[in-house]
Assembly symmetry: C2
Homo-oligomer: 346 residues x 2
């Protein structure tokens, strides 16, 4: 089912909206989502660093002047969508809340705070009924995995997840996307290119995710986020989990190979039946034509493409399913999920 259908009433009262980090890769997509989904915007405030102040970005055909973010930026704002990193969120979200705004935060700042809901609307929109002042938007890999796994988990509890990710440049921001393009161009021309944004050469190369590695567990920060956030989103602290997070030379959609062990036996046919028509999921599972989820197809769309559904041959008990998913990191993995949360707040 197309998750991209706006979830707000056409008669919703227009709101004053602010975007913090409006010039970033996610910020730009938030503006587009508000436009595309006809979000009832009464006024739009674009906030960014002083460096961008005075420039404009278009919204509904009109230029909107970017303002420098300050503690006073949220006066009169109803909904503030933050996407400028964890430090900015920690510093400025309290100011937004104090000014009376509801904050939807795309950073990791508040995700694991037990008093703040971590929301994927297809899964736990009911947490918004308590009118929280801050709502955290999950990590992109967690969102993209959780959307197709939730219908399975609801029906037949998932007790173990083994994942390997194929993560796009966009997760590291617009500068990383530019670095992938520029370094690839240089490679093709035989020119040297010194990485500026990511720690390793990116042209026709891949590397373990650049988040720092926890010396105790050996998992990197991205992997730990995926595991703890998925448990919080599902409201199930007992799910056993592992993931290997890898940055691949793809521009803006993540893919994930998932092996999931359920509590009871499960077949590919049952899995497909659970996923056909599931909110936010699009089945792309054409074995005869070898057509499965690809980042190229996922880019620009709100649904998580899901396929390669098969009985996992490594579990003779018949409780394990393997699948492969792809979702737009900037949309469902970030901007779209945040705007969907805002829609449910209306």
């Amino acid at each position: 089912m197309n998750a991209a259908s706006p979830q707000h009433s056409r008669n919703a009262k227009p709101r004053a909206v602010a975007i913090v980090g409006a010039t970033g890769a996610v910020g730009v997509e938030i503006i587009k989502c508000l436009e595309d989904r006809k979000f009832p915007v009464q006024s739009l405030r674009l906030l960014a660093s002083a460096r961008s102040a005075g420039k404009t970005l278009p919204f509904r055909g009109q230029p909107v002047v970017i303002e420098a973010l300050t503690a006073e930026s949220f006066k009169g704002v109803d909904i503030a969508l933050f996407s400028a990193g964890s430090g900015i969120s920690k510093e400025f979200a309290p100011h937004a809340v104090k000014a009376g705004a509801v904050v939807v935060d795309n950073s990791s700042a508040f995700r694991m705070n037990k008093d703040i809901p971590l929301v994927v609307p297809e899964i736990n929109a009911q947490l918004l009924a308590d009118r929280p002042s801050i709502i955290a938007n999950p990590n992109c890999v967690a969102i993209i995995a959780c959307v197709p796994l939730w219908p399975i988990h609801k029906h037949n509890r998932i007790r173990r997840i083994i994942a390997a990710s194929y993560q796009a440049a966009s997760g590291a921001g617009a500068a990383a996307m530019a670095e992938l393009r520029d370094s690839t161009q240089a490679y093709l021309e035989g020119r040297e290119y010194k990485p500026k944004v990511l720690p390793h050469p990116y042209a026709f190369n891949l590397f373990s995710h650049n988040a720092s590695v926890d010396p105790v567990t050996g998992y990197n920060g991205e992997e730990l986020k995926f595991m703890e956030e998925t448990r919080k989103i599902f409201g199930d602290q007992q799910i056993a989990m592992t993931i290997t997070a890898v940055r691949v030379p793809v521009l803006r959609a993540h893919a994930i190979a998932l092996t999931i062990e359920c509590e009871k036996t499960i077949t590919p046919a049952e899995t497909r039946a659970l996923l056909v028509g599931a909110e936010g999921v699009k089945l792309v599972d054409d074995q005869a034509n070898n057509y499965f989820p690809m980042p190229l197809d996922a880019s620009g769309q709100g649904d998580v493409l899901t396929g390669r559904i098969r009985q996992d041959l490594s579990d003779p008990t018949g409780k394990t399913i393997s699948l492969f998913v792809a979702g737009d990191q900037l949309l469902k993995g970030a901007a779209l999920n945040a705007v969907q949360i805002a829609e449910r707040l209306l």
Copy 2:
């Protein structure tokens, strides 16, 4: 330990060597391996399709004229290295054997034939003692996974492998490598590019491996090869296995995320101790600097880079380890392994 050290005596009798598929991506690397490793070549016969006949390729600074492959091509040949696809191997390997040559076959033609050894020299070189007339060179992903897993398996039997691959263009041949470069150049210039070699767009994209999908299991041919060949190489039919094989926009080295469950408990420290100095393995596991195996570093070298070694958090029994490996698909995954087999035959 550097697997690239030649395993032949400096006094070995020079042999008449033929390469079938000499102009392919692997064929060219075989020629280089024979040169680099000072293989005792008395004469070199380069065999290819009639299309390439009459052209030359250099060997030790001299041009060698390419001949069209025929049933008569193997007269006087001691060792024939085949790398021209399964059909060619099935048709012409018997002619080579009849002419008295030993065949090292890089295709899938004979790999699962119970009378033909499937050899990774670091693991089962002892099978060469019987002087087989045909030796099969395994699938590239199987070789690259098996080299670092073998020292673990020998010490603490691996009973389950869960893998996700990140496979380079080279596995689909030189034309696929050219398609990755050309389509990426077209993308960067905003030009259309219609895929000619692979079934899906490759520029900044990835897709499930293009081998056809078995309608019964839902696994594709590449995945089934990995599983059955790994069992044959390890001589252990009971290892439970699953893999998701994915083609990524990388030129010539494969990476694999591996989750392995052993029979007894195992720690990362024990795993590292087993792998330090293991033949064909190079530990690249620098957590502090986030430096782990990458295709770029694996390209052009014979060892399988191995790192991200950590206790798998999804198995509370402490029997499971996760790791990430990268190996040159054209070298250890194909040409080098074949030449290493030939060296052991001397």
